[in-house]
């Protein structure tokens, strides 16, 4: 039992452990107060005397001094490292070192003469006492000079719902200058009030404060009140719960939308090259996924070069990988078009089979060269980490990939709409013979368009290498999804691809809470299959004679 209570198993305990790790900071910052050792010494020494109840009173007295110098002693006490030296009844901190104990002074931190265990009495603590100590420590750190420390202290009290901390919090709130930390302290106080035996009005006010916070912790605290016997609080708790649940639902929706857009951006990246080769040119390229894979492996190669030759510039490796991947995949694409696809003009089913063959060859080639296992592709610094908007955590890599996908999309759209090359591509795909007779070199346009689609798949591979395993099978996992996106969006329509990718991504994430990830994916697939039956030409179908000709 004792051992159990000792290990930081629960969340509050874990937070406390983190808090304690921060204490040296708090200590340094309050070095000025530590001058008063003389006043503190008797209080510390008193810890060794009397019953658990007496010790508890002593702890409270120490906490009331508000002096961070007492923190090590309290910390040692809760860890069972505080001893009374039998010889002079002085209280010391003892760390086991071999057969004896290495002693330090609890206030100054000076090393003392080590002593045999038999010459010391351990100051015993029980769980009740530990709670008291924890509150005391919380109270002490609430007035640390460092705002982060204060924030974490308040957070710890909040999680622990420690009624003992209310006075400390009141004092701290009074002194607090940082509005964010003050808000957190008020919330912590509200949480503590709920757990205390304060009057009903206070508790109702506390419920109000918590409802404003509106996260899952607040929800569970107020739910606990709702389930308790305090019937005079039920009404306020009910109202607060309704409020929080509404807020939670809004955040859940926001979270689903964000995850959905993030998934959508991945789908968009995977599909966008296909929107050119399949959508615009009408060529079925089953090796499209392998173009993505080649892009990812190019990233791996480029990063390797950076690691060996310029490790300081590693963060810029992706900037080099982008054009490299575009070139590698684009050239392979041109090769496929010149070597195979052009001979299968207007035979889409044969093209499908031949390019599938190409995909097998590319997969095996990569497997033979790099091996079948996942390759390590690193994230540059700007892709790591996360930030929060309210209750929504946004990781930088996902954010960058969304931005990147939209940028690629916009660039492609502009290229197709406003450049000479885009004009040629549209001319050739709409009326090959007419375009040829107008002097457009259709074979060149075919090869370059296919190369463009493949190259874009390659740079998609750079982005996907940041969030997915880089293995020879990377492409396989995207090919069906990509085709679904393009077909769903409407072949030949870039905007359709964008809308399809985003809406499929969001739909997937909204289904997941109800159906689970796999079933959600199945449902989306079934939906698309049914949708294509209903509208064989996708969301944004071109109509009219041009389509039928």
């Amino acid at each position: 039992m004792n051992v159990n209570a000792y290990a930081p198993r629960s969340l509050p305990a874990l937070l406390l452990a983190m808090l304690l790790a921060l204490l040296p900071l708090a200590l340094l910052s309050s070095a000025a107060g530590a001058q008063d050792n003389a006043a503190l010494r008797p209080l510390i020494d008193a810890l060794g005397q009397g019953s658990f109840g007496d010790t508890e009173k002593q702890v409270s007295a120490l906490a009331a001094t508000g002096d961070a110098a007492v923190v090590p002693a309290l910390e040692a006490l809760t860890n069972g490292d505080l001893y009374v030296r039998k010889a002079d009844k002085a209280v010391v901190i003892g760390k086991r070192a071999g057969g004896s104990l290495a002693l330090t002074d609890p206030l100054t931190g000076e090393a003392l003469e080590s002593t045999a265990t038999s010459a010391l009495d351990k100051i015993r603590v029980n769980n009740r006492l530990r709670r008291t100590i924890r509150a005391a420590l919380g109270g002490l750190t609430l007035r640390a000079a460092d705002a982060t420390t204060r924030r974490q202290a308040a957070e710890a009290i909040f999680k622990a719902q420690d009624a003992e901390g209310i006075e400390a919090l009141d004092a701290a709130i009074e002194a607090e200058t940082n509005p964010g930390v003050a808000k957190l302290m008020r919330e912590a106080r509200a949480a503590a009030v709920l757990a205390s035996d304060r009057p009903t009005e206070d508790k109702i006010a506390a419920i109000g404060t918590l409802a404003e916070r509106g996260d899952r912790d607040a929800l569970s605290m107020i739910t606990a009140v709702q389930n308790s016997e305090a019937s005079d609080l039920h009404e306020a708790a009910g109202a607060a719960l309704a409020r929080i649940e509404k807020l939670q639902a809004a955040w859940d929706t926001a979270r689903n939308v964000w995850f959905g857009l993030s998934l959508g951006s991945v789908l968009l990246l995977a599909a966008i090259g296909l929107a050119i080769t399949f959508g615009v040119m009408g060529v079925i390229n089953m090796a499209h996924g392998e173009m993505v894979m080649l892009g990812a492996y190019t990233t791996f190669m480029v990063q390797n070069l950076f690691r060996t030759h310029a490790p300081d510039l590693f963060d810029y490796s992706l900037l080099v990988a982008l054009p490299a991947a575009f070139l590698v995949a684009g050239l392979v694409g041109v090769g496929i078009e010149r070597g195979i696809i052009r001979f299968l003009h207007n035979r889409p089913l044969e093209t499908l089979l031949a390019t599938w063959g190409v995909s097998l060859i590319l997969q095996q080639a990569v497997r033979s060269i790099f091996g079948p296992t996942n390759q390590e592709v690193g994230n540059p610094a700007f892709m790591s980490g996360a930030f929060e908007i309210g209750q929504l955590t946004i990781t930088y890599n996902r954010l960058w990939i969304l931005v990147f996908a939209l940028t690629v999309f916009a660039a492609l759209l502009i290229a197709m709409k406003f450049t000479r090359f885009g004009l040629n591509v549209r001319a050739v795909t709409q009326n090959r013979r007419m375009a040829a007779s107008m002097g457009i070199r259709t074979p060149l346009v075919d090869a370059l368009t296919f190369g463009l689609g493949s190259g874009i798949a390659g740079i998609a591979g750079v982005a996907l290498s940041q969030i997915d395993n880089v293995s020879p099978n990377l492409g396989q996992s995207y090919i069906i999804d990509s085709f679904m996106v393009v077909v769903f969006g409407g072949v030949g329509n870039l905007w359709g691809t964008l809308v399809a990718a985003m809406s499929l991504g969001v739909a997937n994430k909204f289904l997941e809470p109800f159906a689970g990830a796999v079933l959600a994916k199945i449902l989306v697939l079934v939906f698309i299959i049914l949708f294509i039956q209903k509208r064989p030409r996708g969301l944004f179908a071109l109509k009219g004679r041009a389509v039928e000709a």
Binding site: F343, L349, L353, G357, Q364, V518, L525, I528, I529, P536
Partner: protein
């Protein structure tokens, strides 16, 4: 009655294939069981099983040829029908294990005991009876094909669009069968079979019997396919393949024809799967993998689409090569298969049988009246321009 149907379609190649299959159904079991193992003509059991497996693949290829070669529907999802037939048989075999499973539960298969299930799901009932399982091996793929086809053909999803959604179909099933709560053994699938019809699946005699059953099933399906393609319905199918909208303007309900041949083909594939599972001893979700379906397409292409016999030859050849490569040069196999896809589509669009037919055509002419069915038995299969126009007319 069958004879009348067959009269037109029974060419030399087809007769030879039927004779070969019937002979194999008798001879291979005899050479395996009756001769001592050291006899030079003895066929070892592993070879019997391997050939039996090839024959089930050949049946899948035949089914695929019926839709692709004769109706122009390139299915990239036929492995789904094959696997569903296999699961139906697998469920029967699981129920036959009885108390011999690891957990010794008389009713529940091991994986259900492991998942802490208390009773058999409703859809498992009946599978302890062999006839029921066989009917299901045909009916479940047939029903899926019917429903899928009813939607797809009615709304005129054709060409690559259809190919892609058939691929999505098998992919969705792949994901679904990976789920443990589907009740089909999840990841591991169904395996550890003991008996089929009371005979041990491991014994030589059972394996020889399964081989014979595969050969006979393939022969019977070939006869059925010849009858279908030789009938007026078969001619309508080719008409649909070459000029779908023209067929429609003649008053044919194209979707009904497609649905018919699609469903028949799916049931054939289901039968192939049902024969496959007891011979390989396992069925798992991997059989639904889209790659499997596409691999089956290449068997058809290698042998020659629209020839019925060609896909049988193609399936056996390609799988023989696969067995050899994966044992001797595993690294090379995917290169070889990939090259095969490219080479066949570029250089051998009519497959081996088509090549043979055009070689024969170059030889000094033998004066014999080619029956119309011979058209489909070798010579021109949907010349590319016709296909192109068909696509364009959609």
């Amino acid at each position: 009655m069958m004879v009348r149907f067959l009269a037109g379609g029974l060419t030399g190649t087809r007769l030879a294939m039927l004779a070969l299959l019937l002979a194999a159904a008798v001879l291979v079991p005899v050479l395996n069981l009756a001769l001592p193992t050291d006899h030079p003509l003895h066929v070892p059991t592993y070879a019997v099983t391997l050939m039996g497996k090839y024959l089930t693949y050949a049946l899948l290829a035949l089914a695929l040829d019926l839709v692709w070669g004769y109706c122009g529907i390139l299915s990239l999802g036929h492995a789904a029908f094959f696997a569903l037939g296999g699961y139906a048989m697998g469920m029967y075999l699981m129920r036959q294990i009885g108390t011999r499973g690891v957990y010794g539960d008389p009713v529940l298969p091991d994986f259900m005991v492991f998942l802490n299930w208390k009773e058999l799901p409703w859809y498992w009932s009946g599978f302890d009876a062999f006839p029921f399982a066989i009917v299901m091996a045909l009916a479940v793929p047939g029903l899926l094909a019917f429903v899928f086809g009813w939607f797809a053909f009615r709304s005129r999803v054709t060409g690559v669009y259809l190919s892609i959604i058939t691929q999505a179909m098998t992919y969705a099933l792949l994901l679904a069968f990976f789920r443990n709560d589907m009740g089909f053994g999840g990841n591991n699938g169904l395996t550890d079979f003991k008996d089929i019809l009371g005979y041990s699946v491991q014994s030589d005699a059972t394996r020889a019997g399964l081989f014979a059953a595969s050969a006979l099933a393939l022969a019977a399906s070939l006869v059925l396919a010849i009858a279908i393609t030789g009938s007026k319905l078969g001619k309508v199918l080719i008409a649909v393949r070459d000029a779908e909208s023209r067929t429609r303007f003649l008053g044919y309900r194209v979707e009904h024809y497609k649905l018919f041949v699609w469903t028949v083909s799916a049931m054939m594939a289901g039968l192939a799967g049902a024969l496959y599972v007891p011979q390989v001893g396992i069925i798992n979700p991997g059989e639904f993998a889209p790659a499997n379906s596409i691999e089956a397409v290449i068997w058809v292409a290698v042998g020659g689409r629209g020839t019925l016999v060609g896909p049988i030859i193609g399936a056996v050849l390609v799988n023989f090569a696969k067995s050899w490569f994966t044992a001797a040069l595993p690294e090379i196999w995917l290169f070889a298969l990939g090259t095969l896809f490219v080479a066949v589509t570029l250089f051998l669009p009519k497959g081996i049988l088509g090549l043979a037919a055009s070689l024969r055509a170059r030889l000094p002419k033998r004066k014999d009246k080619t029956s119309p069915a011979d058209v489909s038995a070798g010579a021109p299969i949907a010349p590319a321009p016709a296909l192109a126009r068909n696509q364009a007319a959609e």
